[in-house]
Subunit: 417 residues, 2 copies
């Protein structure tokens, strides 16, 4: 099967087809987790998998598993997965390219009538993005027992709608208990979401580890008042405090560059009226570093900076750390199989550290796993301008195909079946 | 009629009754201009005025005029007015106290069967707040020919709904042409929205002039990107630029204190997701100063600061000045009548400059006008915590009553009727 290759054109067309669910005016996709658009792409995906002779099951976190039978159906499946949800103004590839590459691997095997030893599965994990329901990766997080089901169900979007209720509403709360579904190994393809592969002229990123990450939610409380009649020295302007913290958060990332990154991505000002001094501001902070001790240092610096600014500005502060993810090392054997496949297929590759979080990071805690990156244009993602080249997506899917075949060949090595 | 006083209890009860339209959980009111709640309070007001034997007319900006006949109905009416719309999370008094004090003056005259020479009118001006449709004071602005009707109709809220369409929708686009309705004099009562009266132990503020004001809308454009994989030095973070401008705007106010104030009140971050570097930020800037030449200096400093920050941060900037209001001096004779009434009624008063904009500022351009302030608790307004004391509201209404009576007594002085 060394000569077998995926059908890149079919894969590309599938990606373009799913991009219609939540299509935006400038080429992007808005498909928030558990929205009607998410339901529609899930329905499409389930049908496409059934068309590829897979059986589709859904667990009680809405994670979808499409299984193609192997010779030994009692064997634990090899899985490929990612997510179909997007950012509020995201692109066509983030997550989707990974799920549909898995589907393409199965379609390719169907084309030549190849039967693997173990079953193969393609997985769509629920709520990877975390933009509607924070924190991100709720589906794989509950799967890996990092996040409790009750916590996940209780998460609310900015309109106060609960994750559990929305899952029920779109009809994707399955009966199988999340976490009980067994996998032998897990591989995920994803666009890099950074500029390094493109800048280095590489096609494949062999991801060896992932950054640690912390998410915080902050509410600063001052005193709303009339913008025309409240003298400057009597103000408690919550936005002014927030502005200073945005500057401070940026400083922490710069101080620990090049490995650190730090971001304030979401801000809500209240009451948000041009002639009212902001009485309170809610915002999020995202800190990342590949080394856990440096991550701890950044956390301490952030907390110190925040209390100082709030104190100086006369503001009340409520801080909650809603998400802590230590750095992750991927399974050495799995990573090695990715490297070998890239080499055998003659793709230029490099090893790298993942900045973004991915479902693979959680899955890796309970199943041997690896993560494969492909380039994206200008390193841009989480934006309508996100783009990838058909030949790179195809190359990534070919790596998945060959990793899975190599893995499958060793499934029963030295074992009695 | 020197002994005549308004019924403070009835006035207070009217204020509490209108506070139900758009009531919020912490005692405030959310009654944005041309919303369903605005329609309901308008309906209530029209009924109440009819109940006080007034004839209600509406012009094509939705401004409402409730007229009580006088002895000489061909005479141009004396008017009392303010507005019934509120901030998104405003209070029970801002605007409302002025309109309902006007109604109370009429009810008081009805109680004793007193007939004025000229007709009296109570006015509700449309969209004073400007929080749904910027700029503020559209109704009185068109009345005074400072704002064109077409511009007003075309203003959009943040959902893209147009002022003209919403006015039509709530059924308050009258047939009379705004600006053609004649007034002989105009008086407005308003809470101070600042702490000076309370701090000085005064009941009445005799407003002699009002600050100039400029409003700007700004859009900063950078590049959205993944918070985990975009190195700090490659970022174009629009929120970081906004944070620096918020700091700079605050600095301009401080540099020209105590007379200057400067505020960023509304911010919208896009795409506003915790793990996305903000690609663009829209925000408003409000600068005020009672002296026009200092206002011009602040404007120049603001523009210079903004280009510098945008340049240094690698951001695109779109700036539009959506509102310029020069400082206003009120009619000397009208101001003097307010002072005399406060003195005669034995209320502690002081002269003052208005920071906030008010309908009276526009009306003053075409009709002799004056503005009366009463204290509000802690100087707080534009917030649910906004509060005023019943005795202060009553005092303000008594000043209006006696100003109107004094004015009316001079209506035909020296003239043949």
């Amino acid at each position: 099967m060394q000569e077998l290759r995926v059908n890149g054109k079919r894969l590309w067309e599938s990606i373009m087809e799913t991009a219609k669910f939540g299509a935006m005016s400038r080429g992007g996709v808005s498909r928030l987790s558990l929205s009607d658009e998410d339901r529609r792409v899930r329905d499409w995906f389930a049908e496409a998998c059934k068309g590829a002779r897979c059986e589709v099951t859904v667990d009680d976190m809405g994670n979808m598993f499409a299984r193609r039978s192997g010779r030994h159906n009692a064997a634990v499946p090899i899985a490929i997965g990612s997510h179909l949800d997007t950012q509020p103004a995201g692109g066509k590839f983030d997550g989707i390219a990974g799920v549909l590459s898995g589907l393409e691997v199965i379609r390719t095997l169907n084309d030549v009538g190849y039967c693997t030893e173990a079953p193969l599965e393609v997985i769509n994990w629920t709520n990877e993005e975390g933009s509607r329901f924070a924190p991100p990766m709720l589906g794989s997080g509950v799967f890996a027992e990092v996040i409790s089901r009750d916590f996940a169900y209780s998460r609310e979007d900015r309109q106060g709608k609960k994750f559990g209720e929305e899952l029920e509403r779109i009809g994707y709360r399955g009966s199988a208990r999340c976490g009980e579904h067994r996998l032998s190994t897990y591989f995920e393809l994803h666009i890099e979401q950074g500029p390094m592969l493109e800048m280095g002229g590489k096609t494949i990123g062999v991801v060896t580890e992932a950054q640690g990450q912390r998410w915080y939610e902050v509410t600063l409380t001052g005193q709303a008042g009339h913008a025309g009649s409240t003298p400057m020295h009597l103000r408690k302007d919550a936005l002014l405090g927030c502005a200073r913290i945005v500057e401070g958060v940026n400083r922490i990332g710069l101080d620990h560059a090049p490995l650190a990154v730090s971001t304030v991505g979401l801000v809500e000002v209240r009451p948000n009226s041009p002639n009212v001094i902001p009485g309170s501001v809610f915002f999020t902070v995202d800190l990342r570093h590949p080394e856990d001790d440096m991550m701890a240092k950044m956390d301490a610096e952030f907390r110190e900076m925040m209390s100082r600014v709030a104190g100086e500005s006369g503001l009340g502060v409520e801080l909650s750390e809603i998400y802590v993810r230590p750095s992750t090392e991927f399974d050495r054997a799995c990573v090695e199989q990715v490297r070998e496949a890239a080499e055998r297929l003659n793709y230029k590759y490099r090893e790298m550290v993942s900045g973004p979080g991915h479902d693979a990071l959680y899955v890796a805690r309970v199943v041997p796993a690896a993560l494969v990156f492909i380039p994206c244009e200008g390193g841009i993602s989480h934006d309508e301008a996100e783009n990838a080249r058909p030949e790179d997506v195809e190359a990534g899917a070919n790596v998945l195909l060959h990793v899975v075949l190599a893995r499958d060949a060793t499934t029963f090595e030295g074992k009695h079946v």
